[in-house]
Amino acid sequence: MELKEAVAKLKEHQRLMNAYNHAMGVMYYDIETAAPKNAIGGFSDTMAALSEITYKLSVNEENFELLDFLSAHADELDEITRREVEEAQKGLKLMRNIPIDEFVEYQRVQSEASAVWHDAKVKSDYAMFEPHLKKLVEFSRRFASYAEPDMDPYDYWLNEFEEGFTQDVLDKYFEKIKAALVPLIHRIGEKGQPDDSFVYKFYPIEKQRELSDHLMQVIGINRDDCSIGETEHPFTTGFNKHDLRITTHYYENALTYSMYSVIHEGGHATYEMGNCDELIGSPLSGGASCGMHESQSRFYENIIGRSRAFCDLVFPKIREMFPEQLEGVTEEDFYRAVNKAEPSLVRTEADELTYSLHVLIRYEIEKKLMHGELDTKDLPAEWNRLYKEYLGVDVPSDKEGCLQDSHWSGGSFGYFPSYSLGSAYGAQMLAAMRKDLDLDKLISEGRIDEITAWLRERIHKYGMIKKPAELLRISCGEDFDPDYYIKYLTDKFTEIYGL
């Protein structure tokens, strides 16, 4: 085979895969945002049929030979093509080892579980979801053993989501977080909390939608490239740098929930919109890893969005939109309210400080599930026990407990730690960025696009061309170091609470 011909074959394969993935992505977005409830049956069938096609397109001897041939000639390939081949090989490692029937069955179980989880959450009925979760756990353990029979199954998944971050790294990471943050949270608990009752007044959804539009404008999102929808659980999905979708959820009695969801998801979207043009249609478009994606969403949500400068920038407009609800509330009151650090029940509503403890709890549970040390039937009890131990809160219902997140219903185990790592990456990038930019000044003047430009140049433009560890070196000039994160949180909350 000629190398040129092989590359052309690879690109044609990618073009087809891109079309199928695009269709499935749109269908997924549609089922979450627009489809009527009973569409789910037809949706599952269609997804199963399309998944089978893409599976067959990728998992066949001809494609393996093509990739092996290209891997053997990696030195002669341009950087993008070389990384495409590498990622394809990585992705196929699992697929090469799963029988198609199991894969198709998995897809079916997964979309069913996802639908049942929606219902179970509404009804706070864990028992109805449990058999589905049990199946998904079994699939995950089995798939891991297919791909890497000698590897610990949880390590396998952790490494899939965030290369290099397996249990030996994460055990230490979370120990460090626990040691630094639990006492800090305890000390804060002895201080008085700011009055944030104004956040929970009545904020009509129609007006909150306008606020979303305003915030997207402030963080510099081009609406011709990115739309916003409404779902139970906010997320971002994208089909190329000119077609991103973020979603939010409006609560009439919680102003900041949607607000920070929009900024968070907007951060994810900004990452992908910043991909270089060469990546359009390439499987390397998007973000380098879950953790890197999360670092960007949290950079916008917390580091920018919960800064004093940002509150000064946006609060006057918010007060203007809700004059009655926010009468007499100052920028500083707002800043204190959105940085209120207090143990809570729901991860997505957790404050910046206690957030990583929510992740720690999930990490410990996943570890046990993956090792068969925890039966899915006992999950609620274990969940509630850990919330009591680390956060000191009593979980009143599974809706606010172990049914709160969609991840497990989608078959994702090992994803949660990347949220916490993302925050840690972000804090390290912040320290590097401060050497080049006067961040507070830029934010207070509404020049967030200049911050985005810094990130785009060092992170966003690369998509998956560079791996997370490499991106940290490019943007920060050094390897991953969690101490930046601990210092960032300690400084910020020590100042706020006057410790």
């Binding site: 073009r15 087809l16 695009h22 269709a23 269908m27 977005y29 009527p36 009973n38 609406r223 739309s227």
Partner: protein, 499 residues
């Protein structure tokens, strides 16, 4: 090959085809309702790949042989499989006669012609579209000659769009319309017009949205199976039996536009929602034809929606939502206003009575263009002449005249008559229904689902198992007779206007 193997292979291909169709439908819906503007290029690329893949499934010799085998042993097949094979054979035979290169280049021409039409309409410059319109018609003639040699090209296209329809039948149909409706419209035009200004006060969208929900509820549409979204030009998409999407457009200064859009699109939805579950996933699980679909949508829009009984049912509800805008207006006045007869420039804004004249103009032009007796360059002039003759109105611009519809630019030749046939089918079906049901009493007491049940039993449930002609016969006990339509309009509007 064993017959049972042939059947399962045939069903496998149809299932795949159905998956492509659903994915493409969802993508198209998403493109119209949720996607950001710049997603267009990516959407076009992906949908082209998927359409091509879907086309390949049934275009090859192998598939033709498979279907041939099934058709040869049709007696041994169940009814559904037999009809599926028949339909596929018909498509295959037609396509087989057209050389692929010619077909592809005609498709390409249509792509260009459509964008030229858009441009021409936007800039009101017919000359931009003229050469393409000539090419579309000569291409359509060529396709017809290849696919149906020895058949009048118009007959080919009429039959393609509405099985069993011919020039002979339509000439007779439109002849009667010309003879009986044109004079009626002339008489009505001399009568005083009912007051309709109250329909054009300011009706906020939020109230209209709630009203849409109420209409859908009155129609008995199961919202778990049918959603509603907002677009520029309303349409309905059928994804599966349990997943139908209707759309509407809200005009704050026209409360009836949305009301009749919801009734019309809701009618399309009810057709599909009532197809027999046995047909689920089959290509037969859709309305029998464009005309038959239109008959049901217009049944709900006009025959039900513009009836006196419905006005009495709906008006108090409408007034309860908009008490200020409708203070002092009676149900009787409302009924007259929504049945106001007034020739319009645009087909889509035409009233029930003059609608068919718009179709007649298009039909006459299609006859001339397809036979080569007129050229595209003659179209603007002929359009003006015919509009003046039939509708008595002057056409001020081509944008509002011969460029108003997208059909010709997208290759829909001989399609317009299906709209008129739909009206005529509906009137005949209504006459049959009235022999069994007291429709006025049912409508006025809000028992519209009983009308739907009648339609479901005689029309909807069969999907494409029966041809339109056969459905009319089985539903009405006689073959198609346009006299019902003429009588329905003459009696209704004669009474309303006292002529």
């Amino acid at each position: 090959m064993e017959l049972s193997d042939a059947v399962s292979e045939f069903k496998r291909i149809l299932r795949l085809k159905e998956a492509y169709r659903r994915a493409l439908c969802v993508m198209s819906c998403d493109n119209m309702t949720s996607a950001p503007k710049n997603s267009a290029a990516g959407y076009a690329a992906s949908s082209a790949v998927l359409s091509g893949k879907s086309y390949e499934l049934t275009a090859g010799r192998e598939f033709g042989d498979l279907v041939g085998l099934l058709c040869n042993r049709a007696d041994e097949l169940d009814e559904i499989t037999r009809r599926e094979a028949e339909e596929q054979m018909r498509e295959y035979e037609l396509m087989r006669r057209i050389p692929e290169a010619e077909y592809v280049s005609y498709k390409r021409l249509l792509g260009v012609a459509f964008s030229k039409w858009q441009e021409a309409k936007r800039s009101d410059d017919f000359e931009l579209f003229r050469p393409y319109l000539d090419e579309v018609f000569s291409g359509a003639r060529r396709m017809a000659e290849l696919a149906s040699p020895g058949t009048d090209p118009l007959d080919h296209w009429l039959d393609r769009n509405e099985r069993g329809t011919s020039r002979e039948m339509l000439d007779d149909f439109f002849g009667r319309i010309r003879g009986e409706l044109v004079p009626l419209i002339k008489r009505i035009s001399r009568m005083p017009k009912p007051e309709a200004g109250f329909l054009h006060r300011t009706y906020p969208k939020a109230g209209q949205r709630a009203f849409s929900d109420e209409i859908m509820q009155l129609m008995g549409i199961d919202r778990d199976r049918c959603s509603i979204a907002e677009v520029e030009h309303p349409y309905t998409t059928f994804i599966s039996r349990d997943d139908v999407r209707i759309t509407t457009h809200y005009y704050e200064n026209d409360v009836s536009a949305n009301m009749f859009s919801v009734l019309h699109e809701g009618g399309h939805a009810l057709y599909e929602l009532n197809i027999s579950p046995e047909l689920s996933g089959s290509p037969l699980a859709h309305g029998a034809s464009a005309g038959m679909h239109e008959s049901i949508s217009r049944f709900f829009e006009n025959i039900v929606g513009r009836s006196e009984a419905f006005s009495r049912l709906i008006f108090p509800r409408l007034r309860a939502r908009f008490p200020e805008q409708l203070s002092g207006v009676s149900a009787e006045q409302f009924h007259r206003a929504v049945n106001r007869v007034e020739p319009t420039l645009k087909r889509t804004q035409a009233d029930e009575l003059t609608y068919c004249l718009h179709i007649m103009i298009r039909y006459e032009l299609e006859k001339l263009l397809l036979s080569g007796r007129a050229q595209a360059g003659d179209v603007p002039g002929l359009w003006r002449e015919l509009s003046l003759e039939y509708l008595g109105i002057d056409v001020p611009s081509d944008s509002l005249g011969c460029l108003q519809d997208m059909h010709w630019g997208s290759g829909l030749i001989g399609y317009f008559p299906t709209y008129a046939l739909g009206n005529a089918y509906g009137a005949q079906i209504f006459a049959a229904m009235r022999r069994e049901l007291d429709t006025d009493a049912l409508i006025e007491s809000g028992r519209i689902p009983e009308l739907t049940a009648w339609l479901a039993e005689r029309i909807c449930r069969f999907g494409k198992l029966r041809t339109p002609a056969r459905l009319i016969e089985s539903a009405c006990g006689e073959s198609f007779d346009p006299g019902y339509y003429i009588r329905y309009l003459t009696e209704k509007y004669g009474a309303l206007y006292g002529v």
